[in-house]
């Protein structure tokens, strides 16, 4: 398979998201500056998403984060930890 026209944004997106999958986009890119620029932009987005996945994959869920914010607030104000109990 090859592209008569440029791949769609979705096809470029899938290429960047799943580089391990064989994809005809790889053959198209050396011939197309515009698509290479688009892929660069998508790679920058992927970098953000990789960080975001790691940030959200910890054992710190929203509720736990709120508890930690409470601990910070209490500590800063000099409030004993169990004062709210």
């Amino acid at each position: 398979m090859w592209f008569r026209r440029c791949p769609t944004t979705e096809q470029l997106d899938d290429f960047v998201a799943h580089p391990e999958v064989e994809n005809p986009v790889a053959e198209h890119l050396p011939k197309c500056e515009e698509c290479r620029a688009a892929v660069q932009s998508l790679l920058a987005e992927k970098h953000v998403l990789d960080d975001l996945r790691q940030a959200t994959a910890t054992d710190l869920n929203d509720a736990r984060r709120e508890q930690i914010v409470d601990i910070c607030r209490d500590a800063a104000r000099g409030t004993p930890k169990d004062a709210h109990a």
Binding site: E10, V48, L49, T56, I68, I71, R73
Partner: protein, 201 residues
């Protein structure tokens, strides 16, 4: 609070100065990023949940006292972050010493990699915590619909395919890609705002 204010809380170069008042809303912005960083690094250093909470409390208490007294803001050198790193390292070290004296083993994850310097990976953790805060601000801003937000999480963070998300939420698959790009652009804009508040990670 308007959606715009929720996304981009009004700030100025006096952000760090404002932390001298722990009742200031600035404290919450500060705590939402730096509290989880300290906690995460304490856990990675092998401390348990309770000990890690104690480290967070000690670091924040010390920081607040310092802010109320003589702390000088120096944005060019990121001095407040350097201070936090040092105090975090010391507090983790104190708990470890207590553990060793008591003969108790460390039980956190990734102990070997971070054992020598518990704050070695501060910058990486800070970059990720800032993004987690960006996500939280965006979710609560009302700037993006709950359905679109869910679509973003399913597609971009949970690795579901566009077809699966489209079928589950009743959104055209093509739209799923747009939601992802729009959401990332918004997150990057919020992240720039956080950089204005606290400097670069």
């Amino acid at each position: 609070m308007s959606a715009q204010e929720a996304l981009f809380p009004p700030t100025s170069l006096t952000m760090i100065d404002a932390l001298a008042d722990p009742s200031s809303p600035r404290w919450e912005q500060f705590a939402r990023i730096y509290g989880p960083i300290v906690f995460t690094l304490a856990r990675r250093a092998g401390l348990n949940e309770q000990e890690s909470e104690e480290v967070v409390a000690a670091v924040m208490s010390g920081f607040a006292q310092r802010m109320r007294s003589e702390f000088q803001v120096d944005y060019s050198r990121g001095s407040f972050r350097s201070y936090l790193r040092t105090v975090t390292r010391n507090e983790i070290g104190n708990v470890r010493k207590r553990r060793r004296r008591a003969g108790a083993p460390l039980d956190g994850v990734d102990v070997p990699s971070d054992a020598d310097d518990p704050v070695l990976h501060w910058s990486d953790v800070e970059r990720r915590e800032r993004l987690a805060e960006c996500l939280r601000r965006l979710r609560h801003s009302g700037e993006i619909s709950p359905r679109d937000f869910e679509a973003f999480e399913m597609f971009a963070l949970r690795d579901m395919s566009a077809a699966e998300v489209a079928a589950e939420l009743g959104i055209p698959a093509k739209r799923i890609y747009s939601i992802k790009h729009e959401t990332i652009r918004r997150l990057q804009a919020i992240n720039r705002q956080i950089e204005n508040e606290f400097g670069e990670a």
